[in-house]
């Protein structure tokens, strides 16, 4: 050892040496160091997409377990399993194996429920993530491509959901399949052939479960995985957006390094997502296929609904008038075509193209890495709220029979609530959102100009009552603040600028010694009552020195 000269800084530990050997061969130290040092912004809303990622991961793993036992075959069998009320019933092998999964496979029901809850959460998290991206303008140049990939992934996740919903071949899923078949048939010109291509003949045929199975477990997940990889790589390459704030510019990213802080948080979130899904899977029953019964085209149940993410299309179908267009020569465009193919097509096209549309309308082609607060872009925010209202109202209409039944409302009334609401509510929401955005903007500027309302009312020697305002920065001779709005949240309560002194840290329980913090606070001299008497009252009642609000002549200690 002593004889051989070692490079300065060479590792001496066993692990270090092993890592050196490893790096000598693969030369990964540079990229790994860069990756581990990558900085992620810390805002909570940046974790929404991660929830979707983890939900997808859990769906992938639980789904793999299900494939060990599921038999995607439409061969008629007689059920001889554990569930008594169906024993002896004729059903497809797919349904029988799904029943066996639920009752005869160890842990099978739990895994099925976990898979289904994870799928519902996956789409929900995608939607929430998309809403965040939209309202903060994170889709703007240079991130249009990632927005587009995101929309494609959303559509793929819906297709995943639809095919997965169909697989168990129970009465509910078969009803959904019948609707899919009808939607395909409703497409003008190519409808019949499209249907033949998908079903290999008439409804229901003998192929469809097997085909949907391959689409569900191989084709869609493979595309999704590839797109997720591209989505994340683009994200890493383009770096995160961030909210404007102190020290944050268009050219930096302020946050935590991947290792250890962000990695720790991400692992924690993965476990939280897993915990929520596993908790739901163990505690709340989802899709009890044994209650639905085997699919039989002659049967249909009241309250047959798709999973929530297809609810908007069910709703649009429910409220659309029965306007068949009969063309000469025995051609018909069925009414079903409009609320399904056209509405869904239009919605997703507009969604996918929104970045381009906005770029065109605003003429803003610059690159943006700082996010916008929704209030600062009232038109986009209002458009978004309008679209969400439209979507939400269609979803409500999709459950209109359940609502009618549970709340004792006429189903006909619910249908008209859906029809009128879907037209009237979005514009109303637009106007309200726009006004709220302007109001919030105005209030931000008002606080920047006049300061925070302290809630302290003073009576001047002249008899006039004023409320003392705390300016946020230097003021001019009229007492008006000179800070410009920077796109970041403006503190509006004295607590946020230390009026109630520093808060004791800790989310659930204090992680600091309250008594120590109190001592520190007293030494700091922050807050309203600090340095009383060292300031003069100006004629306007506002402090002239840009410091703390004055005590108006007499110390009236309202705090502590």
């Amino acid at each position: 050892m002593a004889a051989t000269a070692t490079t300065p800084g060479a590792p001496t530990s066993r692990l270090g040496k092993a890592a050196t050997e490893f790096d000598d061969r693969l030369i990964v130290a540079g990229p790994v160091r860069r990756t581990l040092n990558k900085v992620f912004p810390d805002h909570w809303s940046f974790l929404l997409g991660e929830i979707a990622l983890y939900a997808f991961l859990i769906a992938l793993l639980s789904g793999t377990y299900l494939t060990f036992f599921f038999d995607a075959s439409m061969v008629e069998v007689e059920y001889e399993g554990e569930y008594d009320p169906l024993r002896g019933t004729e059903m497809s092998a797919a349904y029988a194996s799904a029943l066996d999964l639920s009752f005869d496979v160890r842990g099978g029901l739990f895994m099925r429920q976990m898979h289904h809850w994870a799928a519902l959460l996956f789409v929900a998290a995608i939607v929430v993530h998309l809403v965040r991206i939209f309202f903060t303008g994170a889709f703007r140049r240079p991130r249009e491509s990632n927005w587009l990939i995101g929309v494609v992934m959303l559509v793929l996740s819906l297709l995943m959901g639809v095919t997965g919903y169909t697989l168990p071949d129970d009465l509910l899923s078969g009803t959904g399949l019948r609707i899919i078949s009808a939607i395909l048939l409703s497409i003008p010109v190519i409808g019949t052939w499209a249907h033949f291509a998908v079903f290999n003949g008439d409804f229901v045929g003998t192929e469809i479960i097997g085909r949907f199975y391959i689409a569900h477990v191989l084709i869609f997940p493979a595309i999704l995985l590839a797109l997720i990889a591209v989505h994340l790589l683009i994200l890493v390459k383009q770096k995160h957006t961030q909210f404007p704030g102190p020290g944050r510019t268009e050219h930096n990213v302020v946050g935590n390094r991947l290792f250890p802080t962000f990695a720790g948080k991400a692992t924690g979130l993965l476990l939280v997502v897993f915990g929520v899904i596993a908790g739901l899977a163990g505690l709340v029953q989802i899709n009890p296929i044994w209650l639905w019964g085997p699919y039989n085209p002659a049967q249909v149940s009241a309250a047959s609904q798709p999973d929530w993410y297809i609810g908007f299309l069910d709703g649009s179908t429910r409220i659309f008038p029965a306007w068949d267009i009969n063309l000469p020569g025995d051609y018909t465009i069925p009414a079903l075509f409009w609320p399904t193919v056209v509405v869904a097509g239009a919605m997703f096209t507009v969604l996918a193209l929104y970045p381009m549309i906005e770029r065109k309308l605003t003429g803003d082609t610059a690159s943006h890495h700082l996010l916008q607060r929704p209030r600062d872009v009232p038109v986009r925010t209002s458009l978004g709220m309008m679209a969400l209202t439209f979507y939400f109202w269609l979803m409500v209409a999709g459950g209109n029979d359940v609502i009618a039944d549970k709340f004792d409302i006429s189903l006909n009334a619910m249908t008209w609530v859906g029809r009128i609401g879907v037209i009237v509510l979005p514009p109303i929401v637009y106007v309200i959102t726009y006004r709220i955005c302007l109001g919030l903007q105005q209030h931000d500027r008002e606080v920047l100009e006049h300061g925070i309302e302290t809630g302290i009312i003073r009576r001047l020697p002249s008899g006039e009552f004023i409320e003392v305002h705390q300016p946020l920065g230097p003021v001019d001779e009229h007492g008006h603040g000179q800070l410009a709005y920077g796109g970041a949240p403006v503190p509006k309560k004295m607590n946020q600028v230390g009026g109630a002194r520093r808060a004791i840290r800790g989310f659930f329980t204090p992680i600091e010694q309250p008594s120590a913090v109190e001592l520190e606070q007293q030494g700091e001299g922050r807050g309203l009552s600090a340095a009383e008497g060292s300031r003069e009252l100006t004629s306007s009642g506002r402090p002239s020195d840009g410091g703390r609000p004055s005590d108006g002549g007499r110390p009236q200690d309202t705090r502590d």
Binding site: I51, Q113, V276, L283, L291, A303
Partner: protein, 280 residues
């Protein structure tokens, strides 16, 4: 029917003076009249007597004697039902249907589930706590059955049927309105198929038999008594069955599940990321 001819001995054959003849004619007219009346009376009595011999004994009871239960039922009917169903069960236009032929099965279902007496006219009659006691329902059933006739109550074990077949029949005949698991569902114009959760066997059976409100009648030639018992067996088995997957969330499928994932799933996770991430 008639055995006597009133004219056979009423014809005077003697002749005499015209006055005699006239008197005799008057007298014979008088006699003829009396004889006619007597003969009519006799034939009516005989008809009645013969009818009472040959006619069904029940029908005779109908008007003459009424059992105590029927009498009590009549009193209940006249107090609570007569306004809409009429004094002879014939029904009243725009108020209530005729009860002739509905039988005690309909009475049992309507009164035992509290649908009748109706509180007000609306889209359909909601069930509510029964107004009449079991004994009063028996009396009403006796009265309606005696005066209108119709399907009667079944007897024996009403769950005595094949479970799997019951399920198949339930999905084919009942699920389109009452939902897969009998949760009920909305119909048009404020009408609804009720939940079967609190229904007893006899209520389900009599509902199939009588077809209340919007429900079709499932007579014994559509669903045999054995098939009805199978269906009841399936409904009650499903109702009593625990949910192996956890909380059933109403067993109404995707609508409730969607609500759970948004409120519970997304709700909890939002709290989680609020905890983990920074707020500004």
């Amino acid at each position: 029917m008639s055995t006597t001819n009133p004219h056979s001995d009423a014809l005077p054959a003697d002749a005499g003076t015209p006055g005699d003849r006239a008197r005799a004619r008057r007298r014979s007219k008088q006699r003829r009249r009396v004889a006619n009346v007597a003969g009519l009376m006799a034939s009516l009595v005989l008809t009645g007597a013969l009818y009472s011999v040959f006619a069904p004994a029940q029908a005779a009871d109908d008007t003459t004697t009424e059992s105590a239960a029927e009498a009590a039922g009549r009193e209940l009917y006249e107090n609570s039902c007569i306004t809409c169903h009429g004094s002879n069960l014939e029904g009243e236009p725009n108020r209530g249907p005729s009860l002739i032929g509905v039988g005690e099965a309909a009475v049992y279902f309507q009164v035992h589930t509290g649908r009748m007496p109706l509180v007000r006219q609306e889209a359909d009659a909601p069930d509510k706590p029964a107004v009449f006691s079991d004994q009063e329902i028996d009396q009403l059933m006796a009265y309606i059955q005696a005066n209108g006739g119709g399907p009667t109550l079944p007897s024996g074990n009403l769950r005595d049927g094949d479970l799997a077949q019951g399920g198949e029949l339930f999905r084919l005949n009942c699920a389109s309105c009452h939902n897969f698991v009998g949760e009920g569902g909305a119909l048009s114009s404020g009408k609804a198929a009720p939940s079967l959760a609190d229904s007893n066997d006899l209520e389900i059976y009599t509902a199939m038999l009588s077809g209340p409100e919007n429900m079709p009648v499932f007579g014994d030639n559509q669903l045999t008594p054995e098939e009805k018992r199978s269906i009841i067996n399936y409904i009650q088995t499903i109702q009593q069955q625990a949910d192996p997957g956890g909380a059933g969330v109403g067993r109404i499928g995707p609508v409730a599940e969607g609500l759970v994932i948004w409120v519970v799933g997304v709700g909890v996770l939002m709290f989680g990321i609020f905890w983990m991430g920074s707020k500004a």
